[in-house]
Structures are given as structure tokens and as C-alpha cells.
């Protein structure tokens, strides 16, 4: 049998849980550096990479805490590595300050959050979707972030690659907002041939060495990047800075610096928004959901359709930037938007805001610890169809 030598990418069909699929996605995306700290229910991602990396030329470091993990990831990214860290609620909270540094210094990296129930230590082993707003607003200051949410182990693989690609394209930390159910759900995951996986390169600077300005943006608002140690003598700071990267502490520079950080995401929202639409045309009610809640909602949607209700389904893959236009368009066409999520109404606020009173909106809340009973979602659909 003619077998090709096995590379790092585990091409083929596998039976994997979401955490392991995410780890394989990172490998497929060219990630060769991970810093992490143990925390349930995300640890399996780090464990798998700790085992896989020494066999494929990657490096894993277990840091002393999550503050250190994210700091090491930012340092590694400037050292030229494609870098990732993995955590869950309490660790995510600890990472917030340096996620802000990552935004301010435009450092490409991926932060995986396998969400559990909170607040505080909450439900370490049970599911939640309660860090959705924290992903968007958790670090201080005004900024924009990119966050994706997977609904299956297959998506844990596919979207991890996408997270890396987007982080490189937009030079921003990308949040991968998994949840405990998706992380621990085991399903078939098909990993394609390595050379068919679309991996985007870093935006390397290619001009003369001494002409490099770290924060002079390209046309799309994103500046090219260099690697420490290549004699560009750059200065990178979390202070408000000019195109040279030098701290300038005044309102004018703040205006230029912060506007660009937000505009590079806002202006490209159409490129970033990924949703899955199903039977939206002519629908009276549309269920809007993401992550594991989207899986649970499918049962309620099927049951509602059996009852003759015209139900559409909008599954959010990109959660930040929020798919605002999609919701606004829908709100003008349908009677009611129903949103189940495993929190007390985080992304629902965005749905409500974007719908702006043009249709009814209904939240199906859940405090966490378990997924929704599809019956509860069905009731909301029936109520929404009235």
C-alpha cells in the first residue's frame, strides 16, 4: 500500500470531542505555540496539544496562571509564532487585561473559551454561554473584537482554523466561544488533506528594514507585522501610540489610534459575519441561536413545523461583530425573533437592539448547568407565532 508519510494534520474521519477537534484545528492552522493553565472544561485542548506538539515540532508551555498564559501568547506572536491559549470562565476573566494589550498592539492570536456556568467558580463541569458579553466588553476601553461560536465538534475543527485566519487578517485576538457541551460532545470529525486547508499567512511587512512603521495601516486599516529579532528596532506599547508605535498621550492621537482599532473590524463586518440561514423566506417566527443552543433549537423548530408554524432558523457562527444587518433585515419581515441562550439574555440584548421594535423578540433564558428543554423553545415559538 502506498501510504504518504503522515504529517501533523490528521487527515481522515475521526470520532473526536469538540476540545480535541479544536486542538487538531489549531495544528491544521499552523499553530505551534500554546501556553495554558489547567481549567475545566477546556483542559483537554491543552492536554492534547501537550501530547501532540513534541511529535510535530510544536511547543507547549504550562504557565503559572492565566495572566501569564495570555502574556506568553502575545510575546510568542511577536516572536513570530502562531499562538493560542485555552481557558474557561474564571481564567477568561484573568486574561482580560492582556486581551486589551493584544487589541491595542494588534497582536494576532486565538483565545479559546470553553464556557461553563458562572458567575465566579460557578459550575466548573457544566455548560453555560455566559461569557458572550465578556468576550466583547471584558477588557477596559473601547475596542472591537472577533468571536466565533461552534455548534459541533466538526465546527470546533473548522472554525479554529478560521479563528487563526481572521486573527492574522485583522491582527486582533480572536475569541473562540465554545461551551462545555460542544467541547465534550463526541461526533464524527472529518479532517481534510493538509494542502486543501485554507491557512492565511501573517501580514508580513516586505519593505525596507529601516522604513517600517508598526502602525501605518494598509488600505483595509490593518498594518503589516514584523517578527522580533529581525532588526526593525520596533517599539510596541499598550499606551496610546502613533504610527511609529511611540506613546503619544493626547486626545488627537487617542482619536486616531482607537478609531482605527474599532474601524478595522466595523468596516469589515460584512466580511466577518458568518451565519447559517434556514427557511427564512416567508417565516412568521425565526429562531436565532448559536453554540449548543442552536443544536437544541433544531428539535423545537422541527416540532413547530409539524404543527404548521412557519419557522425560520438563523444560526450565528460569528457572534462578534454582531450580525446586526441580518437581524435588522429579518425584523422587518417576520413577526417574532425567538432566542434561546444559556444565560439570562446576553446576545438577546443585541437582537433586541438590532430589531429596534420592528418585530417582537422573545428570550428563552437558561441559567446554565444544562441545555434548554426543547419544549421551552417550542412554547416560545408557538407564542411568537400568535
Amino acid at each position: 500500500m502506498n501510504q504518504r508519510p503522515r504529517g501533523p494534520v490528521l487527515t481522515g474521519a475521526h470520532y473526536l470531542d469538540g476540545d480535541h477537534a479544536c486542538a487538531e484545528g489549531a495544528i491544521a492552522a499552523g499553530c505551534r505555540f500554546i501556553a495554558g493553565y489547567p481549567i475545566t472544561p477546556s483542559t483537554e485542548v491543552a492536554e492534547r496539544l501537550a501530547e501532540r506538539f513534541p511529535r510535530i515540532g510544536g511547543t507547549f508551555i504550562q504557565m503559572e496562571d492565566e495572566l501569564a498564559s495570555i502574556a506568553a501568547v502575545l510575546g510568542a506572536a511577536w516572536g513570530g509564532a502562531r499562538a493560542m491559549t485555552v481557558t474557561s470562565g474564571p481564567g477568561f476573566s484573568l486574561m482580560m487585561e492582556n486581551i486589551g494589550l493584544g487589541v491595542m498592539t494588534e497582536t494576532p492570536c486565538v483565545v479559546v473559551n470553553v464556557q461553563r456556568g458562572g458567575p465566579s467558580t460557578g459550575l466548573p463541569t457544566l455548560t453555560g454561554q455566559q461569557d458572550m458579553m465578556q468576550a466583547r466588553w471584558g477588557s477596559h476601553g473601547d475596542y472591537e473584537i472577533i468571536a466565533l461560536s461552534p455548534s459541533s465538534p466538526q465546527e470546533c475543527f473548522d472554525l479554529t482554523v478560521t479563528c487563526f485566519n481572521l486573527s492574522e487578517k485583522y491582527r486582533v485576538p480572536v475569541m473562540f466561544m465554545m461551551d462545555e457541551c460542544v467541547g465534550h460532545m463526541t461526533e464524527k470529525v472529518v479532517i481534510p488533506e493538509a494542502d486543501t486547508i485554507d491557512v492565511w499567512p501573517r501580514r508580513w511587512y516586505r519593505g525596507p528594514r529601516d522604513k517600517y512603521l508598526p502602525y501605518a495601516p494598509d488600505k483595509d486599516g490593518v498594518p503589516p507585522m514584523i517578527r522580533a529579532g529581525d532588526d526593525h528596532r520596533v517599539h510596541i506599547t499598550g499606551l496610546t501610540h502613533d504610527a511609529r508605535g511611540y506613546p503619544i498621550i493626547n486626545a488627537e492621537c487617542q482619536q486616531i489610534c482607537v478609531s482605527r482599532l474599532t474601524d478595522k473590524i466595523r468596516d469589515n463586518a460584512d466580511d466577518l459575519v458568518m451565519v447559517k440561514e434556514e427557511q427564512l423566506r416567508g417565516a412568521d417566527v425565526v429562531v436565532v441561536a448559536y453554540g449548543i443552543s442552536a443544536r437544541v433549537a433544531t428539535k423545537a423548530i422541527t416540532d413547530a413545523r409539524k404543527k404548521g408554524i412557519k419557522v425560520g432558523f438563523l444560526r450565528l457562527i460569528t457572534v462578534w461583530p454582531f450580525p446586526e444587518k441580518k437581524i435588522r433585515d429579518l425584523a422587518g419581515k417576520v413577526g417574532c425573533l425567538v432566542m434561546p441562550e444559556i444565560n439570562l439574555g446576553q446576545m438577546y440584548r443585541e437582537v433586541e437592539r438590532a430589531a429596534a421594535g420592528k418585530c417582537r423578540t422573545m428570550l428563552v433564558p437558561h441559567c446554565g448547568g444544562w441545555v434548554h428543554d426543547p419544549e421551552d423553545i417550542l412554547k416560545a415559538i408557538i407564542e411568537g407565532a400568535k
Binding site: A28, A68, T237
Partner: protein
């Protein structure tokens, strides 16, 4: 003063001999007159040159505070990070790109208080980093609050009736955690400090230098210790050089003798050495050493995934 006025021609009397290594377009700096930080930068640049380490390999990482601004004035690849996180940031740089000589220049509050956990773990790992910890006994940038290094009885804005907590003996702390090079000098000991920084840069493993530095504007003024010059005189009269002294005996008490010297220099496997050795032992031929960072000069895209 217009910063351009400082830009003299090299080789002439009005040119600073180290201006090639400083970001002259950022002058004037924010540090106070007779602060010890200028001396530290001078010693660092001299040591870096003498070490003959290629300039592009040297990366400087700072945290937050007066010393935290060092990275912004040195003309190397330099990173001004968040408060306390210079060491883990530097760890990421080093592990991702082991060719780099990563130096941390930061203050006592940044490294020993808010960043204390990272300091002890980097020492424990014998991570191949050079740490220059400038100790001015207080948080100077925020106006002179007490630090975990403030000597007992000293006045700070948050200890208006005198500090009463026991301060850290930093050389003892890092020594006991596994640092393989430990020294302490004052801002007066320019030659010894330069030699120490050079040795630290050339040392394989976690090297740590504490630099006792005058803070004339807040710490000295509040404690009526005189000017920066008076503090230099104090260092002259009260520094006791004891190479390889037991770090346990290097406590600093308010306005008493300061033990200085090179305390520790030993060879131990670094983090990266130990990792490679263990992986080789366990995995044998299956071990694939770290591939290194991505290369800007090769158009690896899809192939990134296959290397």
C-alpha cells in the same frame, strides 16, 4: 527643549556616544534628574555591546512604571507590556523564538509585587532570560506609594506613619527559587553593573540583577534623604561588596549598609534544555524539536500546516 537639538553629529562633542542605541526622537525622557535609571540604560547598552551578541537578537521587555519606560528609550526591538507581565511576555518571546536574547528591565513593584508569581516561576524554570530589576524602594511613577521592597519605618504616601511590613530580600527570593545568576549593585557601581549585565546576557539560564537606584523626587524627598547626589554618597559609604555572600543575609534595612556583589553563578539546564532532554529521552526518534517561528521571508501559507 526641542528634541532635535539633542541630535548632534556622531563623533562630535555634541553627540551622545550611545545615541545609536537610544530612540533620540523620544528625548527628552520622562525620568527625573539624578534618577538612577539613566545609569542603568548606559550600563545596559555598554554591556550589550561588550557581550558581542548581535544587536538584532536582543529584545527588551518592560512592564509598567518609571523603569517600565526603559523599553521605550532603548533602540532595540522593545515591548512595553502590562503591569507585572513583562516576564511571561518575555517567556513567550523566548520559547517561540529561542534565538532571541530576551531582557526584562522593570521595577521592583512591577516584578516583585504584581509580577511576583511570574518572577518565581521563571526562576524555577531557569528560563533563559535576563532580568534587570531596578529597585527604588517605592512606586515612583504613581507618586511614591509603599512597595513590597519599602524598608521598614520608611515613609511612603500609603505608609505615612512609616512602613511596618517586612520587605522582600529579592536576591534571596530568586536564589531560593532557582535563579542561576544573581547579583546586586547600586546605581553608583557603574563598572560592576556593566560587567554584571554582560555576564547575565552571556549566562545560559535565568539571570537576575537587582539595581538599587535613587528616587530623588519621591522616596528620598519624603524620607529627607537629600538629593540624588546625597544618595550616591550614601551608596558609596554604605555598600559592602561581598561576592558569593549568602543571599539570605542580603536584607536591606532603612538607611543601613547594603550588601552588593555577584551572589550566585551556577550552571543548570535551562527550561528549553530540560524540555529537549526529557522529550528525547521519552520519545526518542519520534521527538520533533520545535520548528521555530514562522519565517517572513518564505511564503509558507498552506504549507505552514504541513511543516
Amino acid at each position: 527643549m526641542n528634541p532635535n537639538q539633542l541630535l548632534g553629529k556622531r563623533g562630535t562633542a555634541d553627540a551622545h556616544p550611545m545615541e545609536d542605541f537610544l530612540r533620540m526622537d523620544r528625548m527628552p525622557h520622562i525620568w527625573c534628574s539624578t534618577c538612577g535609571l539613566g545609569t542603568c540604560l548606559t550600563a545596559f547598552i555598554a554591556a550589550a555591546q561588550e557581550s558581542a551578541i548581535p544587536r538584532e537578537d536582543i529584545v527588551v521587555v518592560s512592564g509598567i512604571g518609571c523603569t517600565g519606560r526603559a523599553a521605550g528609550y532603548l533602540k532595540y526591538d522593545s515591548f512595553h507590556t502590562t503591569h507585572g507581565r513583562a516576564i511571561p511576555y518575555a517567556t513567550g518571546l523566548k520559547v517561540a523564538n529561542p534565538r532571541l536574547k530576551v531582557c526584562i528591565i522593570s521595577g521592583d513593584g512591577d516584578l516583585v509585587s504584581i509580577g511576583g508569581n511570574h518572577l518565581i516561576h521563571a526562576a524555577r524554570r531557569n528560563m533563559d532570560l535576563t532580568v534587570i530589576c531596578v529597585n527604588n524602594f517605592n512606586y515612583a511613577m504613581t507618586g511614591g506609594q509603599a512597595a513590597p521592597t519599602t524598608p521598614q519605618t520608611a515613609i511612603a504616601t500609603t505608609t505615612p506613619y512609616g512602613a511596618f511590613e517586612r520587605p522582600f530580600n529579592i536576591p534571596f527570593l530568586v536564589d531560593s527559587c532557582g535563579a542561576t545568576y544573581v547579583a546586586r549593585w547600586t546605581a553608583l557601581h557603574v563598572r560592576q553593573l556593566t560587567i554584571a549585565i554582560k555576564e547575565a546576557l552571556l549566562h545560559r539560564g535565568f539571570s537576575f540583577i537587582e539595581v538599587i537606584s535613587p528616587c530623588p523626587t519621591v522616596y528620598a524627598r519624603r524620607n529627607r534623604l537629600g538629593t540624588g547626589l546625597d544618595l550616591m554618597k550614601f551608596y558609596h559609604d554604605h555598600s559592602i561588596t561581598k561576592n558569593f555572600a549568602s543571599t539570605r543575609e542580603c536584607d536591606i534595612k532603612f538607611q543601613q549598609d547594603i550588601v552588593v556583589g555577584k551572589f550566585v553563578q551556577r550552571e543548570e539546564p535551562t527550561y528549553l534544555d530540560a524540555m529537549d532532554a526529557q522529550m528525547k529521552k521519552t520519545l526518542g526518534a519520534k521527538f520533533v524539536p520545535y520548528v521555530g517561528p514562522m519565517d517572513p521571508n518564505s511564503e509558507r501559507t498552506k504549507s505552514d500546516a504541513r511543516t
